[in-house]
Amino acid sequence: MDRIPILKMGEFLLVTIQVDMHDQLALQLQDDLTRAIDRNGAKGVLIDISALGMVDSFIGRMIADISGMARILDAKTVLVGMQPAVAITLVELGLSLPGVATALNVERGMRLLRQTLAESDDDANFIKR
């Protein structure tokens, strides 16, 4: 069975969805990603969905769920490269993904991840002092 690869880059995880998602694949990804965050102690997750041309309500909710789970596991999630058609579909389905950071492409997404992480490090240092 095919899986969506999860790449580790330093303290970040990179997930690029290059195929059209079907339900089983989405469930598998949810499982794999949560495990990977836990195992690697990842601080940030970047999900690239630029190749995802269409979503249905299930996949839409899956994307929202995965982002939510990553956040609970204390990893910042950035969703990058959403296509216009996908964005419109999600909005029409009422899935506005509150609390999920978004960026136009992987490069900007990475920058955003580093930024938010640097800010939260500052907060942590402040509390220690």
């Binding site: 969703l79 990058v80 490269g81 959403m82 296509q83 216009p84 996908v86 964005a87 419109i88 999600l90 909005v91 029409e92 506005s96 993904l97 978004t102 960026a103 136009l104 492409n105 900007r108 997404g109």
Partner: protein
């Protein structure tokens, strides 16, 4: 077919007489349509129409104006309606063209069968039925042509109303003009999102200076667009909120929290530039 022989022959033998009376009537009626159609054109149209009407009546009888043989008459009327739509005639003015032919034909029939009352009644009925059918067909085509014009204008409006403008590197603006309905918002949203992808712009400014009123539906459309832009990874600023509209939005209880709003496009551009780390120095 044979029973209406009198009508057919009257159309041919008394053609000049019918044409003259008809033209006099048309002139009288169309006094209001001055300038849109010259009396020379009108005369030519009437002449042509009588010619094909007579030939169709002779060849195919006057019983059924919907039949195959009457195709040429119908086509003539369709052309005529179309021309009149473009010239700005009203539907009743167009229909009168046909209905005003009744009087001359009745007169001619009266003279032909002056001594045969039964036949006259029958012929009059046949003529009325025929002209009514042709008149209705004219009105129908007139309306269809007009709807065609309206449809074309609507699509043109849709195309006109969605210009996405690049204000700066990474900053797009969308000046919205006119009332926002679902269909328009959908097109606006799609073209804006597409442009964001193409230009990799981080900030989109939606300017609603040209939107006359904002109701809950329009506000909802705006919110949807803003959310979609955010999902794509860009930011959205709404500008051009007039005092009246600000009041309406608050009274409607629409939640615009989390959406950056500015009073005018200049302020929005200044904010967008600032967010992109661009600043100006005056020398």
């Amino acid at each position: 077919m044979t029973s209406n022989g009198t009508l057919v022959s009257a159309l041919q033998t008394r053609r000049q007489e019918i044409l003259a009376t008809w033209l006099a009537q048309l002139e009288h009626i169309s006094a209001s349509s001055k300038g849109r159609l010259s009396s020379k054109d009108l005369g030519r149209q009437a002449d042509d129409f009588l010619t094909i009407l007579a030939s169709a009546a002779q060849a195919h009888g006057t019983d059924d104006a919907g039949a195959e043989g009457w195709q040429s008459v119908r086509e003539f009327l369709e052309d005529l309606s179309r021309q009149r739509v473009l010239a700005g005639f009203s539907s009743d003015e167009t229909a009168t063209f046909i209905f005003s032919l009744k009087r001359p034909i009745f007169d001619a029939l009266g003279k032909v069968c002056s001594d045969d009352a039964e036949n006259l009644a029958e012929q009059l009925w046949a003529a009325t039925e025929l002209l009514d059918k042709l008149g209705l067909h004219t009105v129908k085509t007139f309306q269809a042509s007009r709807e065609e014009v309206i449809g074309r204008q609507q699509t043109e409006l849709l195309e006109l109303s969605t210009p996405v403008v690049k204000l700066w590197d990474g900053i797009l603006a969308l000046p919205m003009i006119g009332t926002l309905d679902s269909a328009r918002t959908q097109i606006v949203m799609e073209s804006l999102l597409q442009k964001i992808v193409e230009t990799e712009s981080q900030i989109a400014i939606i300017d609603i200076t040209g939107v006359p009123t904002v109701d809950t539906l329009v506000a909802q459309h705006l919110l949807k667009t803003v959310t979609a832009i955010r999902l794509m990874g860009a930011d959205c600023i709404i500008s051009g909120v007039r005092p009246q509209i600000a009041q309406t939005i608050v009274h409607l209880g629409v939640d615009l929290l989390g959406v950056t709003t500015k009073a005018n496009l200049a302020d929005a551009l200044a904010l967008a530039l600032k967010r992109n780390g661009i600043s100006f120095v005056k020398h």
